[in-house]
């Protein structure tokens, strides 16, 4: 177990190194620092200011290590800063990125955690229900509805719901955010509903397949033969075994709760990390975008490790060796 975790972490670290290298190639060698500086400062600034800005933001060094320059170059600097979580300041507005991330995490989590939990609470029982009624018209209708739901672009969901629920029915504010607990639910209700609805089709279909796969197994037949009822079979035998494939989908998603949702946050004006990312994209803020990709990758690697470890929890056959 211990050895496994260490090895897994080690591999994770190698992957993170790879990710960082890719980021370096993308953001430093393909885009020149001068462009970034001019974009941030405007076109009229004298070259001296650009140089100063590049020094402030750490864009002033040679790109790659060269003899005698092994440490003092952007590649090494990039690794050093990313690995020590010293993300520096935004290219666009000079704010410290780490602080922005810290501020954005709260709203993001406020959106994603209920969204995540609610998705599971809605999709899994519905999928169990559909699987329970397999080969009946509920099942068929469920599958068709799921495919229908999957075929709608998320943009349409958001636009439609904002229009209907927000503008016509006056149920919730159309958009916005306030961390005051009194009102936060008001703002989050609609994006969460849309998020759940958007994922529901795919989730139900996936979970249903898993449940059906499990309910065709021999041990389910054994359970029936010893007199188990269908509900008990579904909840005790099928569900617990389905956890193994489900975990891959679920646990990996957990770290990404931190990074929020790009679309929901920016459409609904929730100042989370997703919105920050979209701002960075639209404002060509490379340092923020770079950091977000890095954090996303880091979280993914963590999620992978968590998934692997969680297998050991639900599946006694898995010994982490």
């Amino acid at each position: 177990m211990g050895a496994y975790v260490i090895r897994r972490l080690g591999y994770g670290a190698i992957v993170v190194f790879g990710v960082l290298f890719l980021l370096f190639i993308l953001f430093f060698t393909v885009t020149s620092p001068d462009d970034i500086a001019r974009k941030a400062l405007g076109e009229r600034v004298p070259p001296a200011v650009v140089e100063q800005w590049k020094i402030n933001h750490g864009y002033d060094k040679p790109l790659f290590p060269a003899p005698g320059q092994w440490a003092d170059n952007m590649l090494v600097e990039h690794y050093r800063r990313m690995l020590t979580f010293d993300f520096g300041r935004s290219d666009a507005d000079d704010t410290p990125i780490l602080e922005r991330i810290r501020k954005g995490m709260g709203p993001s989590l406020a959106l994603t955690i209920p969204l995540f939990v609610l998705s599971l609470l809605v999709a899994i029982p519905l999928a169990l229900l559909v699987a329970f009624f397999r080969e009946t018209y509920i099942d068929r209708a469920g599958v068709i509805l799921a495919v229908l739901a999957m075929s709608v672009s998320v943009l349409l969901y958001i636009i439609g719901a904002q229009y209907l629920v927000g503008k016509v029915l006056h149920w919730f504010p159309i958009s916005g955010f306030d961390s005051n607990p009194q009102v936060v639910v008001r703002f989050l209700a609609l994006p969460i509903m849309i998020g759940v609805a958007n994922g529901l089709g795919g989730d139900i279909r996936f979970y249903r397949t898993v449940f059906l796969e499990e309910s065709n197994t021999d041990y389910v037949r054994t359970a029936r033969a010893k007199g188990c009822g269908e509900v008990r079979i579904m909840s005790r035998h099928v569900f617990r075994n389905s956890l193994i494939p489900l975990l891959t989908r679920i646990v990996v998603a957990i770290p990404f709760l931190f990074t929020g949702s790009l679309l929901l946050e920016s459409f609904f004006g929730i100042p989370g990390l997703g919105a920050i990312t979209v701002d960075a994209i639209q404002g060509n803020d490379f340092s923020v975008l770079r950091t977000m990709v890095y954090i996303g990758s880091l979280l993914f690697v963590v999620g992978q490790i968590l998934t692997d470890l969680s297998y050991a929890l639900v599946d006694p056959r898995v010994r982490l060796e």
């Binding site: 709608v152 943009l155 636009i159 996303g296 990758s297 993914f300």
Partner: protein, 340 residues
């Protein structure tokens, strides 16, 4: 070379390819029976898909010449597709509702009263025409990306799965690294860095999209490699290359097709999101939805633009999803075995 000639050439190649595929499918009982049962299960979805493909093809065959369109002199010298010639050219000045005779705002008369089945957009272009044009873009995004991603994934997946060892380590590392990066962000970063063009979007989508299928094909190859017919082939002195091409690859073909279909819908949907971020492909439905987004809040509401593009997108994805579902059932060797 002129781009329309390339496009015509591609259409020609595609038609030949389709003919060849049909011929091959008809020869192979395995595939033809799969197709027959697919046809029985999803006749409507297949027909709908065929209509989309047909429109896209009609929009890809283009030539120079003919009359000018509504005073647009440049168009005389440009290659215009069949769709352009039949449906294009009825330009108005601004919005008009479906089949309206006057402009939506202000009520000025139209140049083609009642001639716009789905109305016109902000600068007076016929929405039906734009919707038809979107089919080609959607298929281009889905098709081109798959054409890049799937062979790449197969190459890496098969060699990793079959040869194992160092090759597997390298491919696996590459896969994990790419998979670790948040897909959409990587996609955006790639497009921002490569510049915005259809090819750039497709390449970026392919770079982020090949990993999933690579993993699948690697896993399947690992499984196939251990199967006895591969051992038998090796015992018969068949070379590694021939084992790969004659045994492993054909046994992955069903996955290729299923992946192609399922990937397709995902790609077209992600393009819509890219369009929202302003880095989508010109003329796509995603762009139309994005343009039309604000129109929903217009008062009186302009609904036909988003309705047309949304419905076109929905229709294609739905048909493709249904076909994909059925394909999965039809081609999955497990179900094939059950039928036996």
């Amino acid at each position: 070379m002129e781009s329309h000639l390339i496009s015509n050439g591609i259409v020609l190649v595609m038609l030949f390819g389709t003919a060849a595929t049909i011929w091959a499918v008809r020869r192979s009982r395995l595939w033809s029976s799969a197709f027959v049962s697919l046809w029985h299960r999803r006749r409507l979805a297949l027909l709908v898909t065929a209509v989309y493909v047909g429109v896209a093809l009609l929009d890809s065959v283009a030539w120079v010449g003919g009359d000018s369109l509504g005073g647009d002199t440049v168009s005389l010298h440009e290659a215009r597709s069949v769709i352009d010639r039949v449906f294009g050219g009825s330009q108005e000045k601004s919005y008009s509702a479906p089949l309206a005779t006057t402009e939506f705002y202000g009520g000025r008369g139209l140049r083609y009263p009642g001639g716009h089945w789905l109305g016109t957009d902000m600068i007076g272009r016929d929405v039906f025409y734009l919707t038809l044009k979107g089919a080609r873009v959607a298929l281009l995004i889905g098709g081109l990306t798959s054409l890049i991603a799937i062979p790449l994934a197969l190459l890496f997946g098969i060699s990793a799965g079959y040869f194992g060892g160092r090759i597997d380590d390298v491919v696996f590392f590459l896969m994990t690294t790419l998979a670790s990066m948040p897909g959409l962000l990587l996609l955006i970063a790639l497009i921002m860095v490569m510049g915005k063009s259809t090819l750039a979007v497709c390449v970026a989508l392919a770079v982020t999209g090949w990993v999933g299928f690579c993993r699948v094909s690697r896993g399947e190859t690992l499984k196939l490699r251990e199967l006895e017919f591969v051992s038998a082939a090796r015992a018969l002195g068949v070379s590694e290359f021939q084992i790969l091409t004659r045994h492993i690859l054909p046994n992955l073909m069903h996955l290729v097709i299923i992946t192609f279909v399922l990937m397709f819908s995902g790609l077209v949907l992600s393009e819509a999101i890219l369009s929202w971020l302003g880095i989508g492909v010109d003329g796509s439905w995603g762009q139309m939805i994005d343009q039309a987004r604000n129109e929903l809040s217009r008062d009186p509401i302009v609904w036909w633009n988003i309705a047309a593009s949304g419905a076109a997108l929905f229709g294609l994805i739905l048909a493709v999803n249904f076909v994909g579902d059925a394909l999965r059932d039809v081609l999955d060797p497990r179900t094939v075995k059950d039928e036996k």
